[in-house]
């Protein structure tokens, strides 16, 4: 494997690299703040880059697996069907400024989308996307990356990990070939350096995933699930903002003889998720659906893919309208 270096850049690097990339027709996504909402957007002035943002509302997942995407289009003739692939191939994309937890989640999405069958729409975008993460300089009380094997300086899933400096400059740790190509865009402005990264902010560990797995192994049937799910309203907010949740729906939308097949985000908390057309529902109550979400992340996924499907970004805790944080559920299990 190639040896990758660390580079040092001065203030203004972001503007210059984004400019160079946009000139090369690369889609550059950066966090932008609008109406109190920080999210990854393209084609925006870089002055919009918010300072000291905690994280984007939606994770990087939504770049690789959009909330809705066209899988194919079709036209029905009297006795035939013409099929067409979606309009354009995914553009070359560089995401600058996502958090290490979001980038780490891509390894989990890779595991699902690229085992056995390779999900072509996902894999295409993944190949064409470079991830430049910003290491965290501070932690929010809802963050718990250290409890699930991550850290504020986690390099997993990133192509470049950027340690911002207070003077606007940065230290850039190149991690992959794609990352090296990104640094290349900076030209001589990026100088190799031996400097090490600053100390990461402290994120306290809130639970032990091994203990949780052990508890889950024994407690599929437990009143605990009924108790913790009473609050849950069964919306999809926690799943949709989750960097690792990847369940989807496939729907057809048509007008007259033409239409498209789309893939949309879906969520195991919805009552209809598993409901058969016959009316039979394998998970008829919210407690079963809450359990599925926790089990899938902390038991089934580890058993199948060797790691928990959670990166500790804390979005579910911050997003839930009724204070049903995953952390409080897990911490309660941990204490059992």
């Amino acid at each position: 494997m190639a040896e990758f270096k660390t580079y040092q850049v001065a203030a203004g690097w972001l503007e210059s690299v984004a400019g160079a990339l946009r000139e090369a027709k690369v889609d550059v996504l950066v966090p932008c703040e609008e109406d109190g909402c920080v999210d990854l957007r393209s084609n925006q002035g870089l002055q919009a880059l918010p300072q000291g943002y905690l994280n984007t509302v939606l994770p990087v997942k939504r770049v690789l697996m959009p909330a809705s995407e066209v899988l194919l289009e079709y036209e029905r003739q009297s006795s035939d069907i013409t099929l067409a692939s979606p309009q354009e191939p995914a553009p070359e994309t560089v995401v600058i400024g996502c958090r290490p937890c979001d980038a780490a989640a891509l390894e989990m999405l890779d595991a699902v989308f690229e085992w056995d069958y390779e999900d072509v729409p996902y894999a295409e975008r993944r190949r064409r996307t470079t991830i430049v993460s910003f290491a965290c300089t501070e932690a929010h009380p809802t963050c718990f990356c250290t409890s699930v094997g991550g850290s504020p300086h986690n390099s997993a899933g990133s192509d470049v990990l950027v340690y911002s400096k207070s003077d606007g400059g940065a230290l850039m740790q190149v991690l992959t070939e794609k990352g090296a190509a990104f640094i290349g865009k900076l030209g001589p402005a990026a100088e190799p350096t031996d400097a090490g990264p600053p100390a990461p902010p402290d994120v306290p560990e809130k639970f032990d995933t091994k203990k949780i797995k052990a508890w889950l192994d024994e407690n599929f049937e437990s009143d605990f699930w009924v108790d913790v799910s009473l609050r849950c309203l069964g919306c999809g907010a926690c799943s949709y903002v989750c960097p690792t949740c990847h369940c989807f729906d496939i729907v057809d939308e048509s007008i007259w003889n033409r239409g498209q097949r789309r893939r949309n985000w879906d969520c195991c908390s919805f009552a209809l998720f598993t409901k058969h057309a016959s009316g039979h529902n394998p998970r008829p109550v919210q407690s079963a659906r809450c359990r599925q979400r926790v089990m899938h992340k902390f038991k089934y996924f580890p058993e199948r893919f060797g790691r928990v499907a959670c990166v500790g970004c804390g979005r579910c805790v911050r997003t839930c309208g009724v204070g049903q944080g995953l952390v409080s559920i897990l911490a309660a299990m941990d204490k059992k």
């Binding site: 099929l83 879906d266 195991c268 409901k275």
Partner: protein, 290 residues
């Protein structure tokens, strides 16, 4: 171990862009008031030649404009040149499929999932127990076994439905009944019989008990509504069958068919990848969410 398996699988990834193959309806049979069987052939003969499957596997059938739905392949791979599927009309996609007739084009992705254990079944007595539309997946393996009759010992079929009208594959049931080397018993639920009905009346598990099949060197395969499976399993256990020698299929909702969309997830299994065919001893270890 798991990671090794993933790594090994990763080397031979099968690209999937969710694009269905086009298939033309070459025959459509109304089985009951709400079940229709379609015989489909590939529009692209090259695709047809490359296509192979095993009994028990399923596919996603497209009614363009309404969506995709999952059905098993109900025909036997020993019958070449076409596939068949039986569709019960219950919702949006199935209603749209029912509107398709000979000459129309539908979409098909597959085959996906695992299959009935033909290797293990060789030389054994086979007991097929079906209920309602649950005969469709059994039909694939039944014809497969009949077409290779000498590979198996005794073959018995028990099939029931709510009423005489609800029996699917009526002409094939007659065909099976006429075969000397296949024992076929049909039954309808009490009240579902007609004056002309000359076979059993009673629920499938009850009839099964009166048949008293021997568990000796026998593999039982059962498909049907969940409530029937529950009582059939109890009955078979009482007769001395081990859960290890009984197979069934799970019918969870699916969207992708290839272990990604998360819908059919039960425990650490994806029904679409690790199933739909399961040994009942495996099912006993899963969370009861199907």
């Amino acid at each position: 171990m798991k990671t090794d398996a993933t790594a090994a699988a990763k080397r031979e990834l099968i690209p999937l862009d969710y694009r269905p193959m086009k298939m033309r309806v070459i025959a459509a049979t109304q089985e009951t008031s709400d079940v229709k069987t379609f015989r489909l052939e590939f529009c692209d003969s090259g695709e047809g030649e490359r296509f192979t499957y095993k009994p028990g596997q399923f596919g996603l059938y497209s009614a363009f404009g309404s969506g995709e739905a999952t059905f098993c392949i109900a025909s036997s791979p020993t019958r070449k040149g076409y596939i068949e599927c039986s569709v019960k009309r219950v919702g949006k996609v199935t209603a749209e499929l029912h509107a398709r007739n000979t000459g129309d084009v539908v979409g098909f992705r597959g085959p996906y999932g695992n299959w009935f254990p033909l290797d293990r079944m060789q030389g054994s007595n086979l007991l097929f127990i079906g209920g309602g539309i649950g005969l469709a997946p059994l039909r694939s393996v039944i014809w497969n076994c009949i077409d290779c009759r000498d590979q198996f010992a005794d073959i018995s079929i028990l099939y029931g439905a709510r009423t005489v009208d609800d029996l699917v594959y009526k002409t094939e049931l007659q065909e099976w009944k006429k075969m000397q080397d296949v024992q076929t018993t049909c039954t309808v639920d009490p009240g579902g019989e007609t004056p002309e009905w000359d076979d059993q009346v009673g629920f499938v598990p009850t009839v099964l008990e009166s048949m008293n099949p021997s568990p000796e060197n026998t593999i039982a395969i059962t498909c049907g509504p969940p409530i029937m499976i529950k009582f059939v399993l109890a009955g078979l256990t009482k007769l001395g069958f081990s859960l290890d020698s009984i197979y069934t299929t799970l019918e969870n909702r699916m969207k992708c068919g290839v272990g990604k969309c998360g819908r059919c997830n039960v425990g650490n299994k994806y029904v679409c990848k690790d199933g739909p065919v399961f040994r009942c001893s495996e099912i006993a270890e899963l969370p009861q969410e199907f």
